[in-house]
Symmetry: C2
Subunit: 383 residues, 2 copies
DNA sequence: ATCAGCTATTGAGACGTCTCAATATTGAAT
DNA sequence: ATTCAATATTGAGACGTCTCAATAGCTGAT
C-alpha cells in the first residue's frame, strides 16, 4: 500500500505539504493541492496517519516510533522529542485495535449490571458502584463494556466475551451460592474480581466485600441504645449470600443481648416496593408488634415507610425505621441507613482485577471493607 | 511461528491427537501426550486455535475458512460443512480484535450515561433507556461501551474514543442547546444518533425523540377533564430543550382553553428531591393555590408528594398530582404519569445509528414518537 | 475432444502495532 | 588511536482476520 511519503515523493512536494493538502489544505496553493490529491487518487491512497508516517517524517525507523510513543527508556530524549513533534504535526492517533491484536489485550473490562427484565434486581447501589468502577477503569486506561446477562445460562455470555477477546476480564456482582459464573470463569481461567463473596463457603476467587453482618449488628445496637427491644427484620427471601449474612447479623446481635426473636418479627420480601410494603404490614400485625423495623436495604425501607405513612403511623414516634446502602433518597426521607465505601471498593477491585489479568495476583486479593452507620431522624426518638 | 499442524507432524501424530494432548488430553495415552507437549515446548507453541488451524484440519485454504465461517455464498455447502465441523472439533472462536483491525470496525458503540458527579442528572428513565439500547446492540452483534463525560470539554472524550478506533459511533442523550458534542462529532464526521433533539432549532443530525409538548398537553387536558382549572407547573429551570418544550406545552394547553396562568403557578426546581419539595411548597403558597400540580418528571412528583404528605394534604382529594416518564415508583405510589415507548425508541435509534456508521443513512433519520398517558389514583377525584 | 463461461477455491498481502534479535553509535578507559 | 561495553536504533516479522486477483474445477454446448 502506498504511504503518505510515497504520495509526497510522487507529487514532488514535502511530506508536510502532502499532509496539508490531504487534510484540509485550504491555505495551500490550489495547484499543488490538486496535484497531491490527484497523486493520492492514482495511488489509491487515503489519509490515515500511522506510526509509519511518523517514522518517515521524523527520519527514524518505525520501531523507534513505537518505543518513543510508549515512553520506553531505551530512546534518547532528543529522538523521542523528534518523534513526538512529528506525531503532533500529523495529528497522529494510536489505533487501539492494532495494539490490541499485537499485545493480545482488549483494554476492556466487562460488567453486566442488569439481569434481563428482572425488576427485583434493580439496585441503586449497583448503579453507583458501576459508576465508580468506570471511573477506576478510565484512570487506568481501560474501558468498561456493559452487557446483558440472560436469566438462564448467563455464564455462556461471559465465556463468549472472553473467548472472542472482546474483554480481558470481568467485574461481577450479585454473586449467588453455586454461581455458575464463578465455576465457568474459574474453569476457563478467565480473570475476574467480584463485588461480594466473603459469605460464600470457602471462596477461592478474587473479591472485595463489605462486612454486612457487622453492618447489621451496628444497626441493631444503635436501636438497642435507643431503648428498642422489639426489633423487626424486613429482608429478602433467604438464598443470597449477603442477604443471609445480614439476617445472621441480626440474629447474633439480638441473642447477644438475650432477646428471643419470635417468628413474626421477621418478614421476607422481594426487592420490590409493593412487596416490601405488604411485608411491613405483616410485621406490624405481629402478636407483639415491633417498635423498630430494620430493613436490609433502602428500597424495602421506602416500601415500609409508605405503608406506615398510609396507616398513619409516625416515624420515629410510633415506629423507628432503618435502611441499608444509603441511597440518596434515604437522606431525603431522613432514614437511618448504612453507608458502604463504594468508591474505595471500586478502586481496590479494579486493582485486584488487573493483578489477575496480568497473571500477578495481588497479595491481598480478597479484601473486606467495613460499613458506616448514618443516623437520621427515623431513629431519633429514644424510648 | 509454529502451527498446530507443525507440532502434530513433528510429533508424528494426527492433528486432532495433538489438539487433544494440548487441550486437556486426560483420555490420552500418557506417552503420546508427553511427546506432544514436549514438541510444542520445543517449537515454543502454545495452543490457540485460529482459522489457519481449521484450514489445516479441513484441508482447505485459509481464505476458504474465512468465507465459510462468514456464510459467504461463494462456498459450496459441502465445503462449508467440512469447515464448520473442523471449527467445532477444535473449539474455534473468532478473534474479534483481528477482525476489527482488518475491517476497520470496532463493533462497539459508546454511551455516556452519567455526567460526572452531578446528582441532578441522575435519571431513571435514562437507566431504562440504556438498558434497552444495550439489548438492541446485542441483537445486532454489537456491544455498548460506557464511559464518563466530564463537566468540561466532554466533547474531547467523544473525539478521543472515535479517533483511537475504540468505538464506531455514539448514542447520546441529554442534548442541550449548542451542545458542544454535536458540533464536535459533526465536524469530525463521527457517526452518532441522539435520544432527543426535535426541540433544537433546525437539528441536522440523526435522532429519535418523543413529543413532550403533546405529552404535557395530554396531562393538562386530562386535568381539565377532571374539573381542575388552577393547574400548577413544577418543572426544571429553563435552558434544556425538552424541559422548555414541556413548559411550552403547558402554556399552550392552558391558553387554548382560555386560562390565564399567573406567575406563581409555576415553580422551577433542580432535578433533586429536596428542591422539588421546596418548589412544591412555594407553589402551594400561591395567592390562588393550584388544585393540581403537574410535574415534568417523576422525581419532582415524588418530592412534591413528600411535601404534601408532610403537611397533611391528601392526594387526590386536596391536590391532584402528576408526574412524567412513568418510573416504576410512580406506579407504586399511584401517580398519574406519561409513558414513553423507550423500547421502540432504542431499537429505532440503533438502526438509525448503524445507517450513519455504514454511510447509508436511513431515509428517516429523525423520528418522532408519541407518549401515552397513564392515569392513576393521584388524579382520580373529579371536581 | 475442445472450449467458453460459470462457480469454487486458493494464495498472498494488508490492516497498524509491538518487540526481538541484530546492528550501529556513543563514551569511557586504556 | 584503539578497544570494550554500554546505550540507541533498526528492520523484520508476527498477531488473526478478511478480501482481491488469480487459478482450478466443473458443466454443458459445440
Amino acid at each position: 500500500m502506498a504511504t503518505l511519503k510515497d504520495v509526497a515523493q510522487r507529487a514532488s512536494v514535502p511530506m508536510l505539504t502532502a499532509f496539508e493538502a490531504l487534510n484540509n489544505g485550504h491555505a495551500l496553493d490550489p495547484e499543488i493541492r490538486q496535484r497531491v490529491l490527484q497523486t493520492a487518487d492514482q495511488l489509491n491512497y487515503s489519509l490515515k496517519i500511522t506510526q509509519n508516517d511518523i517514522a518517515d517524517l521524523a527520519g527514524v525507523a518505525k520501531g523507534t516510533v513505537s518505543y518513543a510513543l510508549n515512553n520506553s527508556s531505551l530512546i534518547k530524549p532528543a529522538t523521542r522529542q523528534k518523534v513526538l513533534d512529528a506525531a503532533q504535526v500529523l495529528g497522529y492517533h494510536l489505533n487501539i485495535t492494532a495494539r490490541n491484536l499485537r499485545t493480545n489485550r482488549a483494554g476492556v473490562i466487562g460488567y453486566s449490571w442488569h439481569v434481563a427484565d428482572d425488576p427485583s434486581r434493580m439496585n441503586n447501589l449497583l448503579d453507583r458502584f458501576i459508576y465508580r468502577v468506570t471511573a477506576a477503569a478510565e484512570k487506568r486506561n481501560h474501558h468498561m463494556l456493559t452487557f446483558l446477562q440472560p436469566q438462564e445460562n448467563a455464564d455462556r455470555v461471559y465465556e463468549n466475551l472472553i473467548s472472542i477477546s472482546r474483554v480481558d476480564g470481568f467485574i461481577i456482582s450479585d454473586v449467588s451460592y453455586n454461581d455458575p459464573r464463578l465455576a465457568r470463569l474459574s474453569a476457563m481461567g478467565a480473570p475476574f474480581a467480584a463485588f461480594g463473596g466473603m459469605y460464600l463457603p470457602a471462596p477461592d476467587f478474587a473479591f472485595a466485600d463489605v462486612d454486612s453482618k457487622s453492618g447489621v449488628k451496628m444497626v441493631v445496637n444503635h436501636l438497642l441504645d435507643q431503648g428498642h427491644e422489639r426489633i423487626g427484620l424486613l429482608t429478602r427471601h433467604p438464598g443470597m449470600p449477603f442477604g443471609d449474612a445480614r439476617e445472621a447479623g441480626y440474629h447474633e446481635a439480638m441473642s447477644a443481648v438475650g432477646i428471643d426473636v419470635p417468628k413474626d418479627w421477621i418478614a421476607y420480601t422481594l426487592n420490590v416496593l409493593t412487596d416490601a410494603a405488604a411485608a411491613a404490614q405483616q410485621l406490624m400485625s405481629a402478636k407483639h408488634p415491633p417498635t423498630a423495623i430494620l430493613c436490609t436495604n433502602d428500597l424495602m425501607a421506602f416500601g415500609a415507610k409508605s405503608y406506615l405513612d398510609g396507616v398513619g403511623m409516625r416515624i420515629p414516634q410510633d415506629v423507628a425505621l432503618t435502611g441499608y446502602d444509603d441511597d440518596p433518597t434515604s437522606e431525603f426521607l431522613g432514614i437511618t441507613s448504612v453507608r458502604q465505601p463504594i468508591d474505595e471498593i471500586a478502586e481496590m477491585l479494579f486493582d485486584i482485577l488487573l493483578g489477575e489479568i496480568n497473571g500477578e495476583p495481588c497479595a491481598e486479593r480478597q479484601v473486606i471493607f467495613y460499613p458506616e452507620l448514618v443516623v437520621r431522624q427515623s431513629t431519633e426518638f429514644p424510648r
